[in-house]
Amino acid sequence: MTQYILRRFLWAIPVLLGASFLVFWSIRWVPGDPAIAIAGELATPELVEKVRAELGLDRPLPIQYGIYLGRMLRGDMGTSVRSGLPVLEEIRIRLPRTLQLAFFSLLLAAAIGIPIGVLSATRANTWIDALSMIFALLGVSMPIFWLGLMLIVFFALTLPSWLGLNQPILPPTGAGTWQHLVMPTIALAANSMAIQARMTRASMLEVLRSDYIRTARAKGVPEFSVVYNHGLRNALIPIVTVIGLQFGTLLGGAVLTETVFAWPGIGRLLVDSIGYRDYPVIQGTVLVITVGFVLVNLLVDVLYAYLDPRIRYT
C-alpha cells in the first residue's frame, strides 16, 4: 500500500509541474507585452519595468518558469491589479466560501443521488426506474447556471406569488446566512446528484447480480439487509470514487454557480478578474483550483486502493 501511495504521489508531481507550466505560459498568449498584462494596462512605465525585472522577462523561458515556480512555492502569486492586495490574500479570503458551497453540494448530491440509484436498481425496468433515470438524465443535461436562474425565478417570484408574499422566500444573491446557501447548493448539486444516481444504479445492478447476493437471499436474509448490508456496501466502492472526483468538478462548476448567485468565492473572483484583465489573479485562482483538483483526485485514488485491495496490484 505504501509503495502504491508513493507511486501515485510521484506521478502527481510531473502533472502538477505541467499544469503550472501551462498556467505560467498562458500569460504569453495574451496579445502584447506580458509585463503590461501582469502589471495592468494603467500601470506606470516604472511599474511595468519593475514587473519585467521581477519576472525575469528578458531571460530565457526555462529560467522565467523557474523564477515563477519559486515564487509560487513561497506563496507569492503576485499582486492583484484591481485591488492591490496580494493574490494569495484575495484567494485566502474567498476559498472557504467555495469549499463550503462545494462541500454542502456534494453532501446534498450524495444524500439524494445514492438513494435514487439504489431505488432504481432494486426496481430495475419498472416505471420508478424509468422516472428516476429520466430525472437523472435531465440533471446531466441541464446547464447548472440556468438551473440557478430558474431557482431564483421560483423562490423569488413564483412561490411568493402563490403564497401571497411580497418578498422572496430565499435571498437570490449574496452570502452570510444559511438561507443564502440553499439555492447555490441545489444548483451546484443537481449535476453531481444525477451522475451519482446513474453510477449507483449501474454499480448496484452489477452487485445485485453476483453470487453472494443470491446466496444471501437463498439463506433467507431479509431483502432490506440484502440490498443495504450486502449490496450497497460493496457497490459503494466505485461510487465513493465518483463522489471524490465530483468534488474536483464542483470546484470548476462553482465558477458558474457563484456568478449566478453573486456568491463571494474564488470562482466569482476568477470571472470578475477576467473582466478587469487582472492576470495575476486569473493565474493564481486557476492554479489553486487545479492543484486542489489534482490533490483530490490523488486522495480518491489512494482511498480507492484502500477500499479495493485489487487496485494496488494492477
Binding site: 505541467g18 498568449w29 449566478v260 477576467i274 486569473i282 486557476v286
Partner: protein, 300 residues
C-alpha cells in the same frame, strides 16, 4: 468496439469487406430503433440540425430588429416566446442560436477528434517512450477541471466565439486521445494485425487500413456525447461573457443578457435554457443509445 468483430471478417475476403460493415450498421440501427430513449434523442437532434440549417426560413421575425417600445414583452400571438430586453423576437433569436450551437458543437468536436484521435492512435500503436510522452501531456490537460482550462484559454486569447470553440475543442483532446489509445491497444493484439505485420505491411498502412476503421464506433459514440458537452460549455462561456459578442444570439449570451431582468421578464431566461437542455438531452440520449447498440454485450 462491435465494429471490430464485423471488420475481422471484412479483412478475410474481398466481397465480404463490403458487406460486413453494412450488416453491422443494420444491426446497430435495428437495436437503436428498439430504444425509445435513442429515438427521442434522434428526433431532438434531427430537429436541432434542421432548425440550425433552416433558421432564416423558419424565423418569424428579423432576429436583429430591435423595438424598444415592445421590450421584454411576455409570449403573445405575434411573438410566440415574447421579446427580449431590446424588443427583439425571442423565438427568431433562439432559432438562429441553434445554428451557432450546431457550428460550435461540430467544430469543437472536430478539433478534439482530429487532434486527439491521431495522438491516441500513435500513442497506442507505438507504445514505449512515445506513448509515455503523449499520455503524460494528456494527463496535464486533464489535471484542469475542463471549464477552467477553457476559461484560462479564452481569458488569455480574448473572448470570442472562435476562441471559445478552440478552447472547448482543446479541452476535449485528451478524451479522444485516451479513448483511441485504449481501442488501439486492444486491436493491436488481434491476430489479423499480427498477420499483416508479419507479411511486412508498413506501420502507416496498418494504422490507417486496419486499426483506424475498427476504432470508429467508440469515437462516434464519444463524439455524440461530446457535442452535448461542447454546447453546454459554449453556453457557459457565453453566460460568463467569454463567448460570442453581446449582440450575437448565442444561447448562453441570451441568458447572460436576460439575467438582469429575471424578476420582471423571466421568459427571457426560461426559453434559451430550455433550448440548451433539449439539445443536450437529445445528444445524451442518442449517445447512450448508440453506446448500448454498439456494445457487443448487448448483441448477445
Amino acid at each position: 468496439m462491435t465494429a471490430s468483430s464485423g471488420s475481422i471478417t471484412a479483412r478475410q475476403g474481398g466481397d465480404v469487406a463490403v458487406r460486413a460493415p453494412r450488416s453491422n450498421l443494420n444491426m446497430t440501427l435495428r437495436r437503436l430503433s428498439r430504444s425509445p430513449g435513442a429515438i427521442l434523442g434522434a428526433i431532438l437532434v434531427a430537429m436541432f440540425i434542421l432548425i440550425g440549417i433552416f433558421a432564416p426560413a423558419l424565423a418569424p421575425h428579423d432576429f436583429e430588429a430591435a423595438d424598444f417600445a415592445r421590450a421584454r414583452q411576455p409570449p403573445s400571438a405575434e411573438h410566440w416566446l415574447g421579446t427580449d430586453e431590446l424588443g427583439r423576437d425571442l423565438l427568431s433569436r433562439l432559432l438562429y442560436g441553434a445554428r451557432l450551437s450546431l457550428v460550435v458543437g461540430l467544430i469543437s468536436v472536430g478539433i478534439g477528434v482530429l487532434v486527439g484521435a491521431p495522438l491516441g492512435l500513435i500513442s497506442g500503436y507505438a507504445g514505449g517512450r512515445v506513448d509515455q510522452v503523449i499520455m503524460r501531456l494528456m494527463d496535464i490537460l486533464l489535471a484542469f477541471p475542463s471549464i477552467l482550462l477553457a476559461i484560462l484559454m479564452v481569458a488569455a486569447f480574448g473572448p470570442s466565439l472562435t476562441n471559445a470553440m478552440i478552447a472547448i475543442g482543446v479541452v476535449s483532446i485528451p478524451v479522444y486521445a485516451r479513448l483511441m489509445r485504449g481501442s488501439t491497444l486492444s486491436i493491436k493484439e488481434e491476430l489479423y494485425i499480427e498477420a499483416s505485420r508479419s507479411v511486412g505491411t508498413p506501420s502507416h498502412h496498418i494504422l490507417t487500413r486496419h486499426v483506424l476503421p475498427n476504432t470508429i464506433a467508440p469515437i462516434v459514440v464519444q463524439s455524440t456525447l461530446q457535442i452535448a458537452v461542447a454546447i453546454q460549455a459554449s453556453a457557459a462561456l457565453g453566460f460568463l461573457g467569454l463567448g460570442a459578442p453581446p449582440d450575437v444570439p448565442e444561447w448562453g449570451n441570451m441568458l447572460q443578457k436576460g439575467r438582469t431582468y429575471i424578476l420582471s421578464a423571466p421568459h427571457i431566461v426560461v426559453f434559451p435554457g430550455l433550448a440548451i437542455m433539449s439539445v443536450v438531452l437529445g445528444f445524451n440520449l442518442m449517445g447512450d443509445g448508440l453506446r448500448d447498440a454498439l456494445d457487443p454485450r448487448m448483441a448477445r
